[in-house]
Symmetry: C2
Subunit: 245 residues, 2 copies
DNA sequence: GGGCTATTTTGACATATATCAAGTCAAACG
DNA sequence: CGTTTGACTTGATATATGTCAAAATAGCCC
């Protein structure tokens, strides 16, 4: 749930994402009125830093939940493993985004998160965040909002996944990647995908061949330029039109 | 998002639902330790009551969000209307359940809720609930949990919808209805569905004919006995097996 | 109860996606 | 530099679901 298809529905998308580079909670604070003192206390929470290499686990299913993590560099995917060993990708998390929210309720992670490339994260101990939010009502209210907005976002996904066809899903995915790139100051049209066709398919509920065909078809139509994982978006408006906006 | 497919994944399902008949927040309080005094204050919130006839709106898209509602009797559906007039059902809410959570973040309802039959609800003014939660830390924490558990639940839906086929979706739906029936002290096998095949299809992302065929097929297989909207579940374990558990 | 209407079921066919199987391409490695 | 390996693309076919149409059924009003 860390990643949302319906982001491309052009509602605000900044939300939980940390737009500034030093991995504090500025984005999270932005819409709430905090005093400089409160702000400082909030930023203190995110001072630690840790490195992960490609394939390393940030957390595994069953791990006790202690903290959220803000991704400073690199990217992660979250997944669940089914009994039969199949992998189901549930989200992609990029630099500047916060990961781990899904475990707040259970205190235990229900999926695993692993680095898709060498990455760095800052820890946000949840206990201290909650504690702080009890002292700062506007922060508390904001956390509520963040969480329930996640709900709305996912509801959006549900609606979309139920009714979207393969190419619409892929269009939504590309627009989502584009927007998240743009938020963090990178190109909105030049994408370097970190994930394989198989992973994209798993995330979108499609087979890798279907994903590949959709890429090819988009290229034929002049919507994008594909070169393996380097994708250039040529016709952003047309892609938007495909997903209904 | 008020309704979840993955409830049938046999995790706990009591959650937000109010199991006792007088529509207080007992279910909501249950897992938290409240003093009798705190409990009393909480129950005060749900004293009001209002009636709705079939087709009445509990709220509409765009309405200002003021309160949650606990359904004392009857049932509601939530939906969004697309530009072209198509209706998309996003949830079914039954007696004993709480509706409206999706609007907390935006302060405005993003979908509309209307009665599927004559119904009664109690209002839970959100401001007072939030205020109270500030004074009662364990309640605050519980609200966090409820909300983020909604997240997990919806994530479950996302996973399911992406990979489940028509009959699996219907099986999940039936099991969900069964469980919710059971929670509120009704039969787990004798279901009186309040919604049409069209609404079920809209909710599950299927066409009504597909829903109907799935019902028929289940009956042929001896899994259920169908008589219009009266459905008897004959082979609960087999249905469970269909959805992976 | 009889007729009316909406709902549900069923059938025939169309389309989208999955499946199976080659074949291509590119990075990694000796 | 050739080989290997994994990822990606493309093609042929199968299967699931959607679409269109008609018949059957149930609920409702008089």
């Amino acid at each position: 749930m860390n990643v949302a298809l319906n982001d491309i529905n052009q509602t605000e998308i900044t939300r939980l994402r940390v737009a500034c580079s030093n991995c504090n909670l500025r984005e999270l604070c932005l819409p709430v009125d905090l005093t400089p003192d409160e702000m400082a206390r909030l930023e203190e929470l995110s001072n630690q830093k840790r490195s992960y290499e490609t394939g390393d686990y940030l957390y595994r299913s069953g791990d006790r939940f202690k903290s959220l993590h803000a991704i400073r560099s690199g990217s992660f995917k979250t997944r669940v493993l089914h009994e039969d060993g199949r992998e189901q990708v549930t989200g992609f998390l990029m630099a500047g985004e916060i990961i781990g929210l899904e475990a707040i309720s259970t205190d235990v992670h229900t999926c695993e998160a692993l680095a898709m490339e060498d990455s760095e994260v800052c820890e946000l101990p949840y206990a201290r965040l909650a504690e702080l939010s009890r002292e700062i009502p506007s922060l508390q209210r904001h956390l509520y909002k963040i969480m329930s907005r996640e709900i709305v976002r996912d509801q959006g996904i549900m609606l979309l996944l139920g009714s979207m066809r393969a190419e619409e899903r892929l269009a939504a995915f590309l627009l989502n990647m584009s927007q998240r790139n743009a938020i963090h100051g990178m190109s909105a049209t030049q994408l370097r995908l970190r994930m394989s066709r198989l992973e994209i398919g798993s995330y979108l509920g499609l087979k890798l061949e279907t994903v590949s065909r959709a890429f090819s078809h988009f290229q034929e139509e002049g919507l994008i330029q594909v070169k393996a994982r380097a994708v250039e978006i040529l016709a952003l408006p047309k892609l938007r039109a495909m997903v209904g906006k």
